[in-house]
Symmetry: D2
Subunit: 339 residues, 4 copies
Amino acid sequence: MDKTGVAIVGASGYAARELIRILLGHPGVTITAATSRQDESPRLDELHPSLAGRIELACEGFDATRIADKARIAFLALPHTASMAIVPGLLERGTRVIDLSADYRLRDPSVYAEWYGHVHTDPGRLSSSVYGLPELFRDRIGSANLIGNPGCYTSASILGLAPLVGEGLIERTGIIIDAKSGVSGAGRSPKPAYHFPECNESLTAYGVGRHRHTPEIEQILMDVREDGPLEVIFTPHLIPMDRGILATIYAQPKTPIDERELLALYRSFYQGEPFVRVLERIPATKDSAGTNYCDLTVRVVRGKILVISALDNLIKGAAGVAVQNLNLMLGLPESTALA
Amino acid sequence: MDKTGVAIVGASGYAARELIRILLGHPGVTITAATSRQDESPRLDELHPSLAGRIELACEGFDATRIADKARIAFLALPHTASMAIVPGLLERGTRVIDLSADYRLRDPSVYAEWYGHVHTDPGRLSSSVYGLPELFRDRIGSANLIGNPGCYTSASILGLAPLVGEGLIERTGIIIDAKSGVSGAGRSPKPAYHFPECNESLTAYGVGRHRHTPEIEQILMDVREDGPLEVIFTPHLIPMDRGILATIYAQPKTPIDERELLALYRSFYQGEPFVRVLERIPATKDSAGTNYCDLTVRVVRGKILVISALDNLIKGAAGVAVQNLNLMLGLPESTALA
Amino acid sequence: MDKTGVAIVGASGYAARELIRILLGHPGVTITAATSRQDESPRLDELHPSLAGRIELACEGFDATRIADKARIAFLALPHTASMAIVPGLLERGTRVIDLSADYRLRDPSVYAEWYGHVHTDPGRLSSSVYGLPELFRDRIGSANLIGNPGCYTSASILGLAPLVGEGLIERTGIIIDAKSGVSGAGRSPKPAYHFPECNESLTAYGVGRHRHTPEIEQILMDVREDGPLEVIFTPHLIPMDRGILATIYAQPKTPIDERELLALYRSFYQGEPFVRVLERIPATKDSAGTNYCDLTVRVVRGKILVISALDNLIKGAAGVAVQNLNLMLGLPESTALA
Amino acid sequence: MDKTGVAIVGASGYAARELIRILLGHPGVTITAATSRQDESPRLDELHPSLAGRIELACEGFDATRIADKARIAFLALPHTASMAIVPGLLERGTRVIDLSADYRLRDPSVYAEWYGHVHTDPGRLSSSVYGLPELFRDRIGSANLIGNPGCYTSASILGLAPLVGEGLIERTGIIIDAKSGVSGAGRSPKPAYHFPECNESLTAYGVGRHRHTPEIEQILMDVREDGPLEVIFTPHLIPMDRGILATIYAQPKTPIDERELLALYRSFYQGEPFVRVLERIPATKDSAGTNYCDLTVRVVRGKILVISALDNLIKGAAGVAVQNLNLMLGLPESTALA
């Protein structure tokens, strides 16, 4: 098979590392370019020592023409605002983009401005970009040129709530998402809050009421079923572990509902999905860590519905779903190189 | 000062170890007896290597007369059902009891039977035992002969909710307590779920809808303000760390309320309390780990009240509050030996 | 390609889980049988929740004839002494064996008896089993019917020392191997020493002077170069992490030697090896965790040679090298399904 | 008792925090001043949230006269080179100094320059400063005006080796100290190597052959017994935990020696020491974590002596021993406020 060239734009972070690792085992693509803002043009195995002996490619500075020459698809693993500065140039040169930043996830530029504190400089493309969650938008992903790859908390939250919202079973306000994430979700830049002796053996909430995944969750759930406003109270917590997100979701059913029926609904909703596992038991993050699975279960407690959703924030929450999107865009089996 | 003799009944667990450690620095008491169900009469520093060089006392088998001879106050750090088998004998011999098990916390023996799966064999004392949470029941603790020392999750939850319930500010049903605990809360017996390679780097919920601290939280909050039923949805999670509980609590205010007013209410409610710290910032468990503090803050998000409560499950959640109770019972300054 | 049937005998442990996970991605084999000593014939995804959705095979009790009917190669992931009870029956029925226990690693049954405390019941096969470390014994592995798959500490130690011993550069006594391992190396059975609150946030040495990997390391290094006795002082330590071994090795060179020359020697010795990476930098276990690599570097400090060797105890130290051996036995590319 | 005023110069780090915590429970001293190089004059409980409710003192910029007015003893918890810039001014104003940096530990300014890369600007005081390890230099500490408080690795190493060196039992070259430390030993400044997702679940050696505690260990051990050069090979490792050092020490006895005799020697050598525990069992760091104890045991393996030494790097390795020194300097019982 002739391999498709792909580029990693912004190769130094954890999601980029996972992406490279997965792509090295992908039979249909080859990494032809990688960029980094560091001056020294580091090799990928210098940025990521775990890749020693696996790839010798050196990073280059970003140049849209050069990337477009080498790659039919570019993964952007950049901070928000950095993506929207370069997406237009890539698309104009014919390179399709899977953007792991938040820049092309929100449809409304004013919502972007409100939550990210920046004016969106490419608002025209917000309506044509496709939200890259295959379980909900598979049909549109294959032909898309620009994918807004979902956030990690958002995938866990949306996959957990989509059956309930989709079937119109719950009240659309007052939905509580108490989410917990390993520290790799905070990125690779050393900061006091992620200094080992600070966050090890500790547990805290952060960004209460103002985490940026809030409007993303709400927008997509409103897409799942258009039925007026939908509002979540999203509380992220930092957990002393590398990987994994667990979202504990509390929703009010419109009418009393049975736990077994709910479980059956979830099984039916995700029937045939290669990467969603509906479980009887309560998922532990470890069982999906290192994989592209999202594990889900559902309970009824004193009349409230509890959904518990777990995934690996760097894989199903970032690099793995990006490869799912890649596979769909290339017409390959969706689970190629993923497990 | 003539030191009061105290006994540790059930000396092998983590709460007992913390208790011994604290009491070794207490100027007013001396540990005169310790018991263990192990046949070999281990020394305390064999049970707990960290105590090497600090105490040489050997455990004995439990005998009510012998304990009563040696100790004016006995701490019981036994599994539930084991406490109620020996409390009557101790009290009859004049030894006052601080029971760290759940046996004397619930007032209604049928609730005990329902949640603990055992008939209570000493139901007559349930109404006279005092719930050992000094912030709420200080006045009754000093003269009590039998203290039901609170559970770890319950203290975090009750201290977080008491101002709201006490002032009648929130709806009394649908209260969500999403609680997270370090693994020491599960005790010292090795079990698969607490085997290091199982729970390290993992995160899960457990006991969803059926954790035994649920009725305890509800009973005490109903005591705080008698106003009909009160119902919580309590979801505990296991966190890969030794110590600490964080409870994230979601409550519906009866009428809209301002965050600053709430914070002021909490400050006022806990004014002068030596071991409750009302904070502006969101507490991290590490900041109360190893101490007897409960750290609290409060937020309003989309109309819901969020309370975040943190404490060390083995200290403020067990051994530390037990020493608070001891101090009150002996008429000593409440914070003696505690920090 | 017609897939070769393989069996997992003893499927409940961590090495078995990793083996199953790797084999599920192997294009040349299929798992046709698995056994467990549990009565209930659990499915593999019940034993290992992470395998949900990936394999539905149920375990059976061990029966040599049934296994031999289904599998051309059997992986034995059993405790020591359990393997030697069943290897003869499998070999006699034509099934080749890769034994992950220690039963077929030591050539001398009296050494086995001394260190393992059991008489070896199949001593006749000790001389014909092949030690499954491909970097040293590749030529003999392909045609072997019985592989003694190496221990985790031993692979790290032997790969670290083989170039020095092979070239006759160091004194053969007084070699110090100060080794550190994550807790998964201790197996899946809950025991006090591996209870999370005991080993988390702690560090200790164990088995000082009497760990069973000692004679295995010595035997193989004596095979590397026959030149009289060879003696190591092997000190294992338990590290609060899941995975990874780091061996810090101290050896006395016979004559002064230069660090650059040593590094060149290591590079030359492991030239072309797919799973040994000789590095300038000091390896961190995380960089080989989840992979089949052994990372090595070498230093000279005050006249002593230091070798630092790192690998994933469950992969390069167990399941991964077992698949390397499988590939060699089947005539497949050695790195099939491994990375 | 009239309390002695003490100052914390450099209050923002972990050792300073532990020091403050210990001093808050000290009956004989009161913290009258604290300094920080931060512009905003933070309060101590802003620097260290765990101190909330315990002390309200605000930091000031350093001014020797002001500190000397307020404090009879100053603890310096500054980076190396910063201490020697201010020690002269404090001493001249009559304030005694306990310096937790390395500036006054090495006697030879050229050794300081070689290992620390700075010319010592106060070389004249190197000969009069006293090395603050009470177990070896108690007699000189009481009357000292300037204490060089020992390094964390050095205390573990020196206490482990002093009996052997003191009795002249071992070869004085080729001593191997394979040391392992929790991450708090690296300080509080966020750096890539201590970013949680980098060092969690990982293990590595660092500073091989060039760690600055090497000459300190050698100098003090040569003081213990003057008998020509003494040379150690010191290899530190970073362990994914907050606290604790374990040093595994390998030494060659001059003549064969029995393990029981060695243990007896250690017991005799440390007879009456309040903070050294000589144990039969192998120490785990957790058992001394949070305490001022150094735990030691000794083994003989294949003719080599192994010493295993454990302590809490922030307490016995820094703040705790500093308080031991304080107590000696004030003529108080040495274990005041320590356990």
